[in-house]
């Protein structure tokens, strides 16, 4: 793997150059992913928790128009939204976030291809960074990711001593991004980077995901669900902070009597109205059924269909849950049931 080296100062200059090239540059500032403010203190995230929100809205916005319409008494005209045309660079993506686009890409591309997602995914370049953070909610290693995995990154940063970074070139997209700016880099020292990477403790797996899936295969009906989610408020924060939750609603918004737009909005399976029929019947009428859907979608259905777990182990859903529900802990309990 080709490796280069860059100083923090030059990395920030590089970011400014990309901004000047007309790209959107997002940076992990340790608290959130944000449009780069080009301050030195913005470039954090090695030792901090995953930012409150993932950056999935770059490819899957919270809310976006899928069409505009103009209408008169009898006629309707559809106006297509313009998307894309701007490259999105994320600097300092957590390894648990870097994989999100490739995971979601499966559902947005089986059979019908969602260009809203694809155009933006194609135009996104992910610069991942090794991660030294680990708390009781993290479990990336249980779902096949690790604090040093480059999966999903186009370039990968390894924080070195004296505000230097090792830069590993993972994909052609990454290579192309820096090709114009070779002068900011010096030759990399793979050994120094390896030393840093090997000093990062790799958290032990909290559960065996295959065991969890095989339990889910057989236990759609189980007492387990009744007790696990009884404190769930159905607020849906878990889905909104999740880097791979992708469920959405389609809603029309009139601006006036004659104009409006059709929106695709984030939605969530924990919301009671999510599956409610117009007749009033609701196949998932109680929170335990909705929680079963959440766990099963992540650890069984998506795996069955797309051979990926719909979870990166980032722990955001648990850190933010107002009722203190921890999916890692729940799935760990499922794993124990299989022993």
């Amino acid at each position: 793997m080709e490796e280069k080296r860059i100083t923090k100062e030059n990395l920030i200059k590089l970011g400014s150059n990309w901004v000047n090239d007309g790209m959107n540059v997002y940076v992990n500032n340790g608290k959130k992913y944000t449009l780069m403010k080009l301050h030195e203190e913005d470039l954090k995230g090695f030792e901090e928790a995953p930012p409150l929100m993932s950056y999935k809205e770059i490819v899957f916005p919270k809310t976006e128009p899928i069409l505009y319409y103009k209408k008169s008494q009898k006629e309707v005209e559809i106006i297509e939204p313009k998307i894309g045309g701007v490259k999105n660079i994320v600097i300092g993506a957590k390894p648990c976030d870097a994989k999100s686009i490739s995971i979601m890409s499966k559902v947005f591309n089986w059979d019908y291809k969602d260009s809203f997602f694809n155009v933006r995914a194609e135009e996104s370049v992910i610069i991942g960074m090794a991660c030294k953070y680990n708390d009781e909610h993290c479990f990336c290693t249980s779902v096949g990711i690790s604090p040093v995995s480059t999966d999903g990154s186009d370039l990968f940063l390894i924080p070195l001593a004296n505000d230097n970074f090792g830069v590993r070139i993972i994909s052609d997209k990454g290579k192309e991004l820096i090709s114009k700016y070779e002068s900011y880099f010096t030759n990399g020292d793979s050994e120094e980077s390896e030393n840093v990477l090997s000093s990062i403790p790799i958290p032990e797996k909290k559960f065996n995901a295959e065991n969890v899936k095989s339990w889910l295969d057989k236990n759609f009906e189980s007492e387990f669900w009744n007790t696990t989610a009884e404190m769930c408020l159905g607020c849906s924060q878990c889905a909104f902070v999740c880097p791979v939750c992708h469920c959405f609603d389609i809603v029309d918004e009139d601006y006036s009597f004659t104009e409006g737009r059709r929106m695709k909005n984030w939605d969530a399976c924990q919301n009671g109205l999510f599956t409610k029929h117009a007749s009033g019947h609701n196949p998932r009428d109680k929170q335990p059924k909705r929680y079963r859907q959440r766990v099963s979608h992540k650890f069984k259905y998506y795996k069955d269909k797309f051979d990926e777990y719909l979870c990166t182990g980032c722990g955001r859903c648990s850190r933010g849950c107002p009722a203190g529900i921890d999916i890692g802990e729940i799935v760990e309990r499922i794993d124990k049931l299989t022993n």
Partner: protein, 277 residues
Amino acid sequence: MENIYKPYLMEIAEIIPETKDTATFKLKFKDPEIASVFNFKAGQFAEYSVFGEGECTFCIASSPTRMEYIECSFKEAGKVTAALNRMNVGETIGFRGPYGNYFPVEEMKGSNVVFISGGIGLAPVRCVIDNVLDLRDEFKDITIIYGARSVQDLVYKNLLDEWQKRSDVKTIVTVDPGGETPDWKGEIGFVPTVVEKASLKAENTFAIICGPPIMIKYTMPVLLKLGFEESKIITTLENRMKCGFGKCGRCNIGNVYVCKDGPVFTYEQMKALPEEY
């Protein structure tokens, strides 16, 4: 950019009021080019939209053997169907589709077919009835059993008359006890009972059944008792949908997506599904 969410525009060519809250629309594509290439199979569904109100999901009720109009029948139940119900002939709606799988009409050729439906459930069955009747010679005995709560709740009254007049189709129309009018000449009784008494032959017969969950629940055991094969009892499942093509994440029953793996399922397939519909 290809926009999979962009609907075709359709003009409402005719509105047929069915009951006090149910109507049938005959729709024509605004773009003649799309009209000439558009195709679907009996049982597929679409997303219909009123601009400013939103989209809703129902089957294409007309048969692919009759492409002059696309028809849909709906019951006013929510925001969009209420808006549809206020529309007039000549107005424009959106239409995305066709989506989902379809009834195995090819496989059914050479067999007897029994159609069983209740209420607005006749809409998804009607597309197959018309399809089969348009290819009448390729099927053996055809029986249609249709029930509604009351005479006022019967839909497709003209079609029911038409089918009843045909000598090559046995048509039984029933209303629930108490739902009859003084001059009602059809059966009085619940659909499962009427099915039981209809002296149906189970051998080499497909049963197509759609209607309220309660009707399906009590008719299935009757069909099984009569000896129908589980793989030849076919129904449709309806879960709430938004996208119609397996992305928005709400219509799944376990790992089966009703919008892509369905909406048409055999009883054999249904039995294997978890209770989540």
